[in-house]
């Protein structure tokens, strides 16, 4: 993964971004909207992949980082009347701070204990949202009012509820995060993260403070997930407690596993795949979850490293 010519991976990633941009002109309305949503959630998956794929830390609580961004941004607009950029920043900051606190506490554990601790914290976060229902809307959630979802940039104002603006914003966010994760995993820091995943004891004996390195990774991961949550609130206008539930901690794990853990594009592929399998099968039968389940089992059997992970293993060793 290191020391290879950087041209190919960057060309591939730029190609994917250009393809997604081109798609915005040809896709019918329904798929246009769905893809915008998928790109925002793929950012969530990329944040999860940062920690799970590269550092090997399996968290079952990432819904709290996503919803920290979601509520941080959403409530800032609803209750404080903040502008879109300020609310977006507030959401990201909430996620980063939460990740720092959770990281310091949860990283005292590892393995199964880490999974349980993160899951418990996320559950606390979920219950806190329900408890303060007068502020958060409880299990009903809240709608971010349409007039507030306008991004004013100097003299122009962009209406985030318009499909084109929404798609373009989602693509911009996705592209930035994709290129950031690509740069991180190809950096020296990325090499240390993989070393921690492969053998933490050995990494310590090379002089690395693995706790600090992991803590930074938790904060980076949590911040990316919060960015996705903040964007979701502002672009799709709904802030709901279901996003803090355990289901939304499992989903990014599933997306990443499907697409390929520790691949930069895997999270997008996994999210896309999962959404479309559900979308297509639910058009035929009400028992679509059965088909989804079978598809997942087949994938695990034939592509145990996820779609991109297996492609990298068999054909394209240079994939980042």
């Amino acid at each position: 993964m290191k020391d290879a010519s950087p041209a190919k991976p960057y060309a591939l990633h730029l190609g994917v971004i250009i393809l997604l941009f081109a798609l915005s002109f040809v896709l019918p309305d329904y798929h246009h909207g769905l893809l915008a949503r998928i790109m925002v959630l793929a950012v969530f998956a990329m944040g999860y992949n940062m920690l799970f794929g590269y550092v090997g830390l399996l968290s079952l609580g990432h819904a709290m980082f996503f919803s920290a961004g979601l509520y941080g941004a959403g409530l800032a607009v609803i209750h404080l009347g903040w502008s879109v950029p300020a609310a977006f920043a507030a959401g990201i900051l909430c996620g980063a701070l939460l990740a720092l606190v959770i990281g310091v506490l949860a990283l005292r554990t590892s393995g199964v204990a880490f999974m349980i601790v993160t899951m418990m914290f996320a559950q606390v976060f979920y219950l806190v949202i329900l408890y303060f229902a007068s502020w958060t809307g409880g299990d009903q959630g809240m709608v971010v009012p349409q007039p507030a979802r306008v991004l004013v940039l100097g003299s122009t104002s962009l209406d985030l509820t318009s499909p084109t603006v929404r798609y373009t914003s989602a693509l911009a966010l996705f592209s930035i995060v994709l290129l950031i994760t690509l740069a991180i995993v190809r950096s020296r820091y990325g090499r240390v993260l993989v070393a921690i995943r492969e053998n933490e004891e050995r990494t310590k004996m090379l002089g690395y403070d693995t706790f600090s390195n992991k803590l930074v990774a938790v904060v980076v991961s949590g911040t990316i997930c919060a960015t996705s949550g903040a964007a979701y609130a502002l672009l799709f206008g709904y802030v709901g407690s279901s996003f803090a539930s355990v289901q939304y901690s499992i989903l990014p794990l599933l997306w990443v596993l499907l697409g390929g853990a520790a691949t930069t594009l895997g999270p997008l592929i996994g999210t896309l795949f999962m959404y479309y399998v559900v979308d297509i099968t639910s058009g035929f039968t009400s028992a679509y979850l059965l088909i989804v389940g079978i598809a997942l089992i087949l994938l695990v059997l034939f592509f145990p490293k996820g779609i991109l992970g297996s492609i990298r293993q068999r054909w394209l060793g240079w994939l980042p």
Partner: protein
Amino acid sequence: MMPLLTTKGLSRNFGGLRAVDNVDFALMPGEIRAVIGPNGAGKTTFVSLVSGRIQPSQGMIVFDGADITSLPAYARVRLGVAYTFQITSVFANLSVYDNVALPVQRTLTDGRSKGAVRTGVMAALERTGLADRTHMLAGQLSYGHQRLLEVAMGLALKPRLLILDEPTQGLADSEIDNFIELVREIAKSATVLLIEHNMPVVMQLADRITVFNAGRILAEGAPEQIRANTEVQDAYLGATHD
């Protein structure tokens, strides 16, 4: 001359077992010191205490005049105490290059220049004779080469004290000869603490030998003295003499 490494009353208990028992030890800079002793004598526990992989029950460890007893392992590595593992633990899924790049990039003070990592990696790989295997996965190397990679990683840390835990275990005779040369080469720039079972290797390399038995130091001296020591012969070599 001040010793590079000193331990005073160093002990470590595992349950009721006193694996290392009240050890006073001193190592002079530039020395090649071999630590020998029967299985279970506490050699590996002793160097694990020195490297910080486990914490002592009692006693203190002084490195280059500073008390390092409570420092975590990674901080000791940064001071120059490098440990190569008894059981080979290279990063099997990473390339040979990446394995060595990890220690190199950390020791670089100039973190920016891209060429610096490559230069450092290639220097360490050339010293250990692995330069033609840069892009192989470490796990695909032969056992002997994995041991050499382990040493290359230790070298790349630019250690002042290099602890080699049974480095020749599992090596072929021809590989052992090269290895002896390599350790002599390393000793020009670092102090070497070597745990070794292979007596010819010990006799050829060591300036001094420390013999462990049942967690204590049984004897210490030049190779000839140790060879002649009847107590050592009893405990370790299992010789009967009349």
